[in-house]
């Protein structure tokens, strides 16, 4: 069994799976149930001046038979009194001293208010803070959440106030609703944050009801944009994590958030630079019990790879993530179709014929059935056929011999300019 424990800027937890600050971490009852199920940590639902929530708060995205492929929400921060939350945090930490209990905080952009909140919360024994500069709805209209998180100067300033008062590590949670997340990540680092976490939810309108023409969800006939999360956002979040991980001006640990549903997703985040991950939608879809396979699967994976600790995964693929200009223009893959595995659904054929490079031929056979054959000389290696193929490993993309030595666009441009 590998060592699954992590240390995120001094916040330790027995495994890298934390519950993100969200409805699952609303109360002590819930967090204790989560810890009993095995979660390594929990970021408490954001504390601040209690608010009033609306009724009808979430909406789910169904793709085919797959429900909860994404969800969005218009719920705000905690609607419970601070004293109640603090009492419960103290109890949870007492019962589960080995787990990471991180308090998410949000406050009006005033130094005194922030520092007062920090002091009150750290008195109950939290292991760290996570500053919510990301909440994209409601709170942002009041000058908090993403209203702060979208302005690097404000991120830096608020971070500085908190760090000044905090005796435990401070994580800054970043909003993806910004052109380049590295700017706010750098600001957080500049402000003294010990770590960053990303992503918070993405601005979204989940849908429109075809019968009523109301937005989904609606509150008494009206809707407002919400925060988008779940499996659908993972590629967006992963890119932001990777971008921050390879940025030399950031250089602080990352807690990865966004569509983590399985141990596999977690491994990808870790490889792209995260120290641990936070989960919400998957737990909201299936309950806290899903952490069991996250832990189990990760354990087997590490054992199979001969890795003693999960920490060995962090950042291992970051150096392979670069700019387009650094990609080898001479590298070439082509599609190969395994005729024995092929079930003749022709999906690769029509995808290539209509929407790619017309390089799959349907070759009639004596038995009347067509064989699908790739004309390799015309295949550009786009991968589309292998993506639409319903049979695993039926279409593989294989590397063909490059006739020329590797050359990137940058190198090519340099050579061209140099040659003049």
């Amino acid at each position: 069994m590998a060592d699954l424990s992590i240390d995120l800027a001094g916040i330790r937890s027995p495994n890298p799976f934390w519950l993100a600050s969200a409805p699952p971490t609303n109360s002590g009852y819930q967090v204790m149930r989560a810890f009993e199920a095995g979660w390594g940590g929990a970021v408490w639902k954001t504390l601040g001046d209690p608010i009033v929530n609306v009724s009808s708060r979430f909406a789910g995205l169904q793709v085919g038979s797959q429900r909860m492929f994404a969800m969005n929400n218009i719920e705000l921060i905690t609607d419970r009194p601070l004293e109640v939350n603090l009492k419960e945090i103290r109890e949870v930490k007492k019962r589960f001293p080995d787990r990471a209990v991180v308090a998410s905080l949000m406050m009006e952009p005033k130094k005194e208010s922030w520092q007062e909140l920090v002091k009150r919360v750290q008195d109950v024994g939290v292991d760290g803070f996570e500053l919510n500069f990301g909440c994209p709805h409601g709170m942002s209209e009041r000058g908090m959440g993403s209203a702060v998180g979208q302005v690097p100067e404000l991120v830096q300033q608020s971070t500085e106030w908190v760090v000044e008062a905090a005796e435990v590590p401070v994580i800054v949670k970043l909003t993806p609703n910004i052109t380049d997340i590295r700017h706010t990540a750098r600001a957080a680092a500049q402000g003294g944050a010990n770590a960053i976490s990303m992503i918070n939810t993405i601005n979204s309108l989940m849908g429109v009801d075809l019968d009523t023409w109301y937005p989904v969800p609606h509150v008494d006939g009206k809707g407002a944009h919400g925060g988008y999360c779940g499996p659908a956002v993972k590629p967006i979040a992963l890119h932001m994590v990777a971008d921050c991980a390879r940025d030399p001006d950031i250089n602080i640990p990352i807690s990865g958030i966004g569509g983590v549903s399985t141990w596999r997703d977690a491994v990808e985040y870790l490889l792209m630079g995260a120290t641990g991950v936070q989960v919400c939608t998957a737990a909201m879809h299936h309950g806290f019990g899903i952490v069991e396979d996250m832990i189990d699967g990760l354990n087997h994976y590490l054992d199979d790879r001969g890795l003693a600790s999960v920490r060995e995964l962090t950042g291992r693929s970051v150096h392979r993530y670069t700019e387009w200009g650094n990609l080898n223009l001479e590298y070439k893959v082509v599609a190969r179709i395994d005729q024995d595995a092929c079930i003749r659904c022709n999906k690769c054929y029509i995808a290539c014929e209509d929407t790619a490079h017309q390089c799959i031929d349907r070759v009639p056979q004596p038995d009347g059935i067509h064989r699908l054959v790739v004309r390799e000389e015309d295949c550009v290696g786009c991968n589309l056929c292998s993506m639409v193929c319903p049979v695993d490993d039926c279409i593989t993309m294989v590397q063909v011999d490059a006739s020329k030595p590797a050359q990137t666009w940058r190198e090519r441009e340099m050579a061209r300019i140099g040659g003049k």
């Binding site: 038979s65 079930i343 659904c345 022709n346 999906k347």
Partner: protein, 445 residues
């Protein structure tokens, strides 16, 4: 067994309706193949991926239109088609998974459209051409619908009191309730087709009259009664023609006492229907007897499986030699054992009796299901070439008379295709197109 119980088992469908969740799951499993083999395998070429995709998008009206456009008997076929030999048998998922339940999905959509009274088709602008369709079964209705959609004036002559042919009268109600067949007929009638029921061509109207009153005639009158076995004792009470028995059951007419032991002679689709129907009528022991073996039987695998599930027993390689009776009522059947020799002209091994191997089986009822008679009286004076009572048609369903087309069972020859409802529907459709094509360059004066 009480009469109520008996009748409920006779009329309760053997098909379980798919739940909404089942439908969504199954529809989403479909790969939406390009040039899909299921569509190729369907005799009417229903665009199966398209109709399933439309279920996914909640476009049930569009889905129903895809089905019914290709197959005017699409609702019936969703129940009686041997799907494992057609669309589902061709499904690419058979290789790695299990086939999509295409028949069940088709039933779901056609049930929906029946319940919602949606208008799917409209008659075309009138062309002035008049067509008589002889027979209101699947082939005739299919031809009539297509002709009406093209704007031709169509008159159906149906010998029975209701339309639908075998779908209405000849398939047991627990497999195909009559309201499904009648709904399909109604869709055709709604297009402005004139219908003369209880009107047999050759009896109530002469074939020649059709030729003078109409610009063209489409023959789709199917087949007739089950022939006699040609053995002693056939006049006894308790000896039935399978088609007649099923018709009486389906129309709610009494068939008297079926008794506890039933013997069905034959092993085709109708034989299975007669056997399973007998079970549901209360017979304790029902045996299907066939002169060849399981391998040569013409019933589909799903029908055979269904018969076995219903507790029907089978006796192979036996042919009846006489029916035994007492006081005018059947008491048993004498059979002789057979052996198989080299293939005959139907391509199947030829059964030959084994001398001295006679044996007797007790029976309260004997049902013959050994095929159907050819109806030839309709053809008199039409100048249509026939062979053994089978109308000869070309690939466009044209007969030797340029004004006469023919489709369905009346053109069905042993060894040439299968006498399926779906095949009849396709032939009617193609016959109509063929006729329309012939007229497309003409203007009626």
């Amino acid at each position: 067994m009480s009469e109520r119980l008996e009748s409920s088992s006779l009329f309760a469908s053997i098909h379980r309706s798919l739940g909404r969740m089942d439908v969504v799951h199954e529809a989403n499993r479909c790969l939406y193949c390009y040039d899909a083999p299921c569509t190729q395998a369907c005799p009417t070429h229903i665009d199966v991926p398209a109709f399933i995709h439309k279920i996914r998008t909640g476009n049930l009206k569009g889905s129903a239109r895809v089905i019914m456009e290709a197959n005017p008997a699409g609702a019936s076929c969703a129940r009686v088609c041997p799907t494992e030999e057609l669309c589902e048998g061709a499904c690419v998922l058979n290789k790695e998974d299990v086939a999509i339940r295409i028949g069940d999905l088709q039933r779901y959509v056609t049930d929906w459209v029946r319940e919602h009274d949606v208008e799917l088709f409209q008659p075309g602008p009138p062309t002035g051409f008049r067509v008589a369709v002889v027979g209101g079964g699947p082939a005739g209705l299919s031809a009539a619908r297509e002709l009406a959609r093209m704007g031709h004036s169509v008159t159906i002559y149906e010998a029975k009191s209701r339309l639908g042919g075998l779908n209405t009268y000849g398939i047991v109600p627990f497999r195909l309730p009559e309201d499904v067949a009648l709904w399909e007929a109604e869709q055709v009638v709604k297009l402005g087709v004139t219908v003369h029921t209880d009107t047999a061509v050759g009896r109530d109207i002469s074939p020649q009259e059709l030729l003078t009153r109409f610009d063209a005639v489409v023959l789709a009158f199917g087949m007739g009664a089950v022939p006699r076995l040609g053995i002693e004792g056939e006049e006894l009470t308790g000896v039935w023609d399978a088609i007649e028995l099923i018709e009486r059951v389906k129309t709610g007419k009494s068939i008297g006492e079926i008794g506890s032991t039933v013997v069905v002679i034959g092993a085709g689709n109708t034989a299975v229907d007669a056997a399973t129907c007998s079970k549901r009528l209360g017979a304790e022991q029902v045996t299907m007897v066939y002169r060849r073996t399981e391998k040569e039987m013409t019933a589909y695998e799903f029908e055979y499986d269904f018969a076995k599930q219903e507790g029907v027993e089978f006796r192979w390689l036996s042919a009846p030699t006489r029916i035994l009776g007492e006081e005018g009522r059947v008491r048993g059947v004498e059979f002789i054992r057979m052996r198989l020799e080299a293939a005959d002209d139907s391509g199947r091994p030829r059964p030959v009796p084994i001398p001295g191997s006679e044996y007797v089986v007790e029976a309260d009822t004997v049902i013959r299901a050994i095929g159907q008679h050819r109806l030839t009286e309709v053809l008199q004076g039409l100048g249509v070439e026939c062979r053994d009572g089978v109308i000869q048609v070309d690939e466009r369903f044209r007969t030797s008379n340029p004004k006469v087309f023919a489709a369905g069972d009346c053109t069905f020859e042993k060894g040439r295709g299968e006498a399926m409802v779906v095949e009849a529907a396709e032939q009617g459709k193609v016959a109509a197109w063929s006729l329309h094509q012939q007229w497309s360059h003409m203007q009626r004066v």
